[in-house]
């Protein structure tokens, strides 16, 4: 394997959880709900996936465990903010703190247990393409899922009727309600999709990225996913590009250090964030397109009049 392929492989592993978690949050935010609990749902997904894989011996059941844990945990957020109309920002932050603590408690029995690695699936013919074949077509299931999810979400939001309804709710929940759309029900589903995606991203962490359970192993990736959604101005393809840009700069700075090019490591560690800021400035240059894409009801509480 050439160094080019090796780097690409590491970049994919580092970017996949960011893309998946951000994609889920994108759908949630498109419906007008701001869930800052991504980090908490991700870590719950990681512990759920690890536990399920340990107890059954199957990494695939682990994936299911991660998705279910994330979705169930997000249900708590949905109940508090949609049914009880609690403040979304405060509840989201609480969800993160609760998730980090609860996962540590639930996972105590699994600390130090050797992980079960999700093995790659080789796609015949395509994997024989030189340079990119082994990198792109000899990957694990979660990577394939992440790409399929981007395509599916993009189609769903902009080409399907239900997607149109979700965007309508996100832009003006009162009008959508007046049109007869069940705002609360749709938002419940959108929040749970976000939770399921964060859970899947967590499963990638504890089954592929570093197949082990360690407290706080999400290491702030949930926050980066949140930033990615804004970075992508709520568009799935931009989100994919942003996720890979961030992953690539993160990995390349490590290679630059190992290569010994003599640039201070603190500066290199800062690069992924600096790159994000630069791209954000370029994107927000055109205020009109930014405003069109921003869900206008984002973070606003909705109480249906009966």
């Amino acid at each position: 394997m050439s160094i080019f392929e090796a780097i690409l492989l590491t970049v994919i592993t580092a970017s996949t959880p960011l893309v998946i978690a951000a994609l889920g949050e994108l759908v949630t935010e498109r419906s007008g709900v701001l869930n800052l609990g991504v980090e908490g749902m991700m870590i719950m997904g990681a512990v759920g996936a690890f536990a399920a894989a340990q107890l059954t011996g199957s990494a695939y059941i682990g994936i299911v465990g991660g998705i279910v844990s994330g979705a169930l945990f997000s249900l708590l957020f949905a109940f508090l903010t949609l049914t009880l109309v609690a403040n979304q920002v405060a509840t989201g932050l609480a969800l993160t703190i609760l998730g980090l603590g609860a996962s540590g408690m639930l996972g105590e029995a699994f600390v130090g247990a050797p992980g079960i690695r999700l093995l790659p699936i080789e796609i015949p013919v395509l994997s024989a393409i030189p340079y990119i074949g082994t990198v792109l077509f000899k990957q694990d299931l979660i990577f394939y899922l992440s790409i399929l999810l981007v395509i599916a979400v993009n189609w769903f939001l902009f080409r399907s009727r239900t997607g149109l309804k979700i965007r309508a709710i996100g832009d003006n929940h009162a009008s959508a309600h007046a049109l007869g759309i069940d705002v609360i029900r749709m938002r419940y589903l959108a929040v749970m999709f976000g939770g399921a995606c964060s859970g899947l991203a967590g499963a990638q962490l504890s089954l592929i990225y570093t197949p082990q359970w360690t407290e706080n192993m999400s290491g702030g990736r949930g926050w980066i996913a949140l930033a990615l959604v804004v970075f992508a101005s709520w568009r799935p393809w931009r989100l994919l590009a942003g996720g890979y840009l961030f992953g690539a700069v993160t990995i390349l700075q490590l290679h630059a250090q190992a290569f010994g090019i003599g640039i201070p490591s603190q500066f290199l560690s800062m690069l992924p964030y600096a790159a994000t800021v630069v791209v954000l400035i370029i994107i927000s240059h055109n205020r009109r397109t930014t405003l069109i894409n921003t869900p206008a009801s984002l973070g606003k509480a909705f109480v249906p009049d009966r």
């Binding site: 130090g112 992980g115 990225y209 570093t210 082990q212 490590l254 250090q257 190992a258 603190q266």
Partner: protein, 358 residues
């Protein structure tokens, strides 16, 4: 409903405080403040093992409450003060970043005794203790120098503080003693604890032709990458053989237990005094995990080196050693003094990295 809950909580608190007061009457409180979680598999777990040893030894005479995941900074001072107020006689604060907080609280509570790990600020009621980790890293370096085919090792470093720079230099010094052309590649991840980032750094080093890994970070993620890629590696703070059964060569294990029990005994006997202790392999504050996954001659060399360090025959930093730019640091036969080591801010020759500014 709210009132009822409050009343219940108040009653519960009262019952709890009475319970602990009754217990504390005849037991001395020895308290611990941890920076990470007890189960981190590395640094904090090593301190937790020490606490458990003390409890086992003096269990009928003492209680050992602890606080975990206490961040360095303003929270630390609050946490330590809370411990002092709750009747602790001796408080171990187990992270470098607790230094100023420990000293500040110690001023307010002159009767309470404090012990701060890896720091350098002491007072009448503040002792410091540290471990000569570099002795273990020197042995690791010798093993790496013998086994590496590419003559290059990779080191996953955390923050450019003297402790870490000293570790990198000790490793290089050991490797150089058996392979004069030995090189080291260093990646600074700027964190003690981030499994994903540690794994990424390990992969980057391996992809660039390193065939032996050493880490200064706290989790087993780099060891796991090494195991997957079939690259030999060294564990850190705790034995990591479970994460790398086929690749771990040895690990530097922190064994604070003996020190803790010595100090608790002094406290109970009334002979506790503020001291600045910096023990090493010979005192058992630091032990090497079994030498595994290497040929017998290397194993023998490693054990012999360990014995020589223990007997005092060998000091890892013995000249001639040049600084990175080739200027002389230690003359032939000259040994580094503790002051220079504790403030180390330069690389020795052979480290292929630019030291970040501190």
């Amino acid at each position: 409903m709210k009132k009822l809950a409050l009343a219940l909580a108040a009653t519960a608190a009262l019952v709890l405080s009475i319970g602990s007061a009754a217990e504390a009457a005849d037991k001395t409180k020895v308290c611990f403040v941890y920076v990470g979680t007890r189960t981190d598999g590395g640094w904090t777990q090593a301190h937790e093992n020490g606490r458990l040893q003390v409890e086992k030894e003096f269990g009928d005479k003492i209680e050992t409450p602890y606080l975990e995941s206490v961040p360095e900074g303003p929270d630390a001072e609050r946490a330590i003060e809370r411990m002092a107020r709750s009747g602790c006689s001796l408080i171990f604060t187990t992270s470098f970043g607790y230094m100023d907080a420990t000293v500040a609280v110690a001023k307010k509570f002159p009767k309470v005794k404090f012990e701060h790990a890896t720091g350098f600020k002491a007072a009448d009621n503040v002792a410091t203790y540290n471990s000569r980790f570099y002795e273990g890293r020197y042995i690791s370096g010798i093993i790496a120098g013998k086994l590496s085919k590419t003559g290059t090792a990779g080191y996953i470093a955390t923050f450019p503080i003297p402790e870490v720079v000293m570790g990198i230099n000790a490793f290089e010094a050991g490797a150089k003693s058996v392979n004069p052309n030995f090189k080291m590649k260093v990646i600074w991840v700027n964190t003690w604890f981030d499994p994903g980032k540690e794994a990424d750094a390990a992969k980057a080093l391996i992809d660039q032709g390193v065939d032996i890994l050493a880490q200064h970070t706290d989790t087993t993620a780099p060891m796991q990458v090494a195991e997957q890629r079939g690259v030999k590696a060294f564990g850190q703070a705790s034995d990591m053989i479970k994460a790398g059964p086929n690749v771990q060569l040895t690990a530097i294990i922190d064994t604070w237990g003996n020190y803790y029990s010595k100090r608790v005994k002094a406290l109970l006997d009334g002979t506790w005094k503020s001291e600045q202790s910096w023990d090493g392999l010979k005192d058992g504050i630091l032990t090497m995990a079994p030498y595994t996954n290497m040929p017998d001659d290397v194993k023998k060399l490693a054990s012999e080196t360990e014995a020589k360090i223990k007997s005092g025959e060998l000091h890892p930093f013995t000249g001639p050693i040049n600084k990175q730019d080739g200027t002389p640091w230690l003359k032939a036969g000259e040994k580094a003094d503790d002051g220079t080591l504790l403030g180390m801010n330069f690389y020795i020759e052979g480290v292929d990295d630019k030291l970040p500014a501190q």
